[in-house]
Amino acid sequence: MFEEGAIINELFIERLNYLIYVVLLLIGLHAMISKNNLMKKLIGMSIFQTAIILFYVSVGVKEGASIPIYLPEHDPHGSHVSLGAGNETEEASHGPVVLEAGLIKKYANPLPHVLMLTAIVVGVATLGLALALCQRIYQGYGTIEEDEILAKIEREEMRAHPSVAVKSMESSKTATSKVKKPATKSKESSTLSAKRAKSNPKTKAKTAPSTSQLKSSRSKSASSQPKTSASKSSSAMAKPATSKPKTKAKTTARPKSASTAKKTAPSKAKPRTPKK
């Protein structure tokens, strides 16, 4: 019984820092992995990093030690000595001396602090960069919700290379360790595509359609899906370099769209180059 108490005492009172740092780290890590909103991921990332810093600072703690700045009596220049003791000022005027071993215990360990200064700086640099990425993504896709971005990317790729779309869809899904139910996903994406087909892509499209909107348009979009994707893929088919209709392309997922594409292949050509 006593031992158990000791363990609890040790873990929860003395080592609360170590426990809380783990908790914070896990909160941050979980947010980084599972949050859908990119900004939330970034907040998670910052929490994750500060948790590690907390760990390091905890390592540097010394019971009964002062901050790692020399006390006036040890100040190398002795200029801060205000105590009247004569021999101390005399010693200070002699120049700095190496601290005795006993005095070392009076100061906290400065090394972890130094390391963490660096780590904080790295953290803010990463954060700034990632925020810029967020803005860039928002400019490109009009949203910072991960699933919607994925849906848009998928659609973009389908337009560029109908045959690889299926594969790249898979890879992009794994890439973000984030998988939505495929059924809702395809529907959602087609909803978005239908919407985007109508609206000017440059205007800030209202993303994150409310669920009611989604539901209402779901039935419509389900029926119009093949058509939309067909027209999309047709526009991409007509690339100067690859103007041959790809009958053998792996479009087993959407056979209808492929055949439609074949018929209307060399129509309006709007090659969408990946760069730009």
């Binding site: 949050k35 907040i43 703690v61």
Partner: protein, 82 residues
């Protein structure tokens, strides 16, 4: 003991702040709460004797990071799905 209590109190508040910052749906609120989190962290570190680190965290974590985040959110949507 007083210090230990202070320590414990801040540690618990930290967890609360972290969870709130991640759960709240309004990104502006989230970043402000994140600023609070950073400042709590800074208090904790100052208490633990890491004054330089605390100073840096106060200026960077609670200051610049929050401002920059809010500046970003100004250009994005404020609502988050989770």
């Amino acid at each position: 003991m007083g210090l230990e209590l202070f320590n414990t109190f801040i540690l618990l508040l930290l967890v609360v702040a972290a969870i709130v910052a991640l759960r709240v749906k309004d990104l502006l609120t989230a970043s402000v709460v994140f600023g609070v989190y950073s400042f709590l962290m800074c208090l904790l570190w100052a208490e633990m004797g890491a004054v330089d680190v605390a100073f840096t965290e106060a200026t960077v974590g609670a200051g610049i990071s929050t401002v920059v985040m809010i500046a970003t959110i100004f250009n994005l949507k404020r609502k988050s799905s989770d």
